[in-house]
Symmetry: C2
Subunit: 351 residues, 2 copies
Amino acid sequence: MKNRRKTKKIKIGNVFVGGNSPVLIQSMTNTDTADVKKTVKQIKDLEKAGCEIIRVAVPNMKAAKSLGEIKKLINIPLVADIHFSYELALESIKQGVDKLRLNPGNISNLENIKKVVKAAKNKKIPIRIGINGGSLEKSILKKYKNRVTAEGMVESAMRHIKILEDLNFTDILISLKASDIERTVEAYRLLSKKVKYPLHVGVTEAGTAFRGTVISSIGIGYLLYEGIGDTIRVSLTDKPTTEIKVAREILKSLNLKEDGPQITSCPTCGRTEIDLIKLTKQVEDIVKDIKKPIHIAVMGCVVNGPGEAHEADIAIIGGKKVGLIVKKGEIIKNVPENKLLEEFKKELKKL
Amino acid sequence: MKNRRKTKKIKIGNVFVGGNSPVLIQSMTNTDTADVKKTVKQIKDLEKAGCEIIRVAVPNMKAAKSLGEIKKLINIPLVADIHFSYELALESIKQGVDKLRLNPGNISNLENIKKVVKAAKNKKIPIRIGINGGSLEKSILKKYKNRVTAEGMVESAMRHIKILEDLNFTDILISLKASDIERTVEAYRLLSKKVKYPLHVGVTEAGTAFRGTVISSIGIGYLLYEGIGDTIRVSLTDKPTTEIKVAREILKSLNLKEDGPQITSCPTCGRTEIDLIKLTKQVEDIVKDIKKPIHIAVMGCVVNGPGEAHEADIAIIGGKKVGLIVKKGEIIKNVPENKLLEEFKKELKKL
């Protein structure tokens, strides 16, 4: 994996993003923001699932005026998602949000932009410029023959960045989401060479849980592998907590987050003589509340079993209705299949 | 995306791999290969799911002697997975398999290797060298301080390749699977610079369906994005058909396979005023048997809705208890939420 790209370190509420900070997981509520009770409940659920920064839509003044109360009742940084309206931005800042998601070029009047920037600067609130393939400016679309391109998305981002920089505002984060992997990856790749601001990474409108998991894993995974990305969001047409589950797995599988046990387990094949699918699910269940980053291997046969077991903290290698329990490469026990889980639990406890 | 790497074109049964051939999906049965009925049933299920090459374990002579009958009853190329035994390899070739998965260096005697290579050459059967992090040679492990490294995996592959090339056998495919993304990606990247043989790509022992889907999507997706990979396998500790589902989605999301409709749909947020999760699942259900590669967008609001709809063949944009049906960027109908699916179906039929 490439070294992580060096970005400006930015404070968002009680967390840091960029610099050498860990990659953080974001999501967005789907409740009516003005419904404080429902919104706070959802944010609490998301916190519990592992969400580290939360964004809420602010489509009207009633929503904006609810932000202060929401902020008081949650523990993670609160981001106000605003389109077009400087009044909503000013109210959100007043209410104490930790970050704005706002494209300054979409506010019609420079004086109004200045008001927002001044207020954000006073309260040390960063602004994320969120470029989305689905809402590129007409002038840019026209330039690129009415097609949404990675170049056009980057050009749009640079316009918004220039507006803020011209006002001496540099607490900037940027996202460049398209609904397909290629444009998303290319847009981030291009922009990462132009600016040092932290990047919020995701593929937008990725679809339902299954399709969205695959697309987000490839797109976000590719960028992280290339060292690009300071915060991530998995966008799914599903419960927001599912987004967090996928995001955590992406970070864990790239060793960007120590996040409980990793279970290596082989696909079953004609050599397997124990019920490996069932066994692995049972092991998953046994370790699901463990927070320590232990490496577990559940292997079906002796071809690759011993090698993988050698690398694991603890492993089960299946044989003919029996299993070996292996610790750090050393065989500890040879037990019949029906006693395997019990013995595994005992050995796990000793770790 | 990078252009696909130029590789040698190799015939496997009735399909081609490498050259400019499409990326093909492989899987492996988990039945006892000697149980012809069960094995054929599973292969047929896999064919139906979209599997394009199937591998079976050949751990003993009874399994080897079943291959001819299996071959007669299936439609996709049959690969015999063999470890150490030249006798099993010779019998598999005799039985008419389309490819061997066999590491020649693991056969103890050069004369025996020659027998296998001669038989394979006579029947024009390619050999895949399958390097697996879990079963590297001791001599290589020793050289790399007892650690499994990408370099060690490539060195192992080059040893096996040399054995075959020295015998003038070049119908070679190679895989280099480790159980983590980084070593897998690095090993393939290194080898892809050294040889022109087609590569079979996958992350091995990736775990159960959820974890395995994320890891395989990142690892396989990264390599395909880099132009590396001629066949793929998603290894899951789950039903083999689940592997195919994930593999198809990976290829589809990278536009490497035209494979039915693509549904772009947004994550829900506080702006959404229709039940988007339910609606998207219903749309998914309506189009699930369509084979044509149409692009559908299901969007929750007017912020990014119109932009994404512009790129789709047909789209639904949700509003306040109503939805717009859009075709190629043009609004066709404005319908109440409860009539939306009905009207969508009508418009879909016209496409």
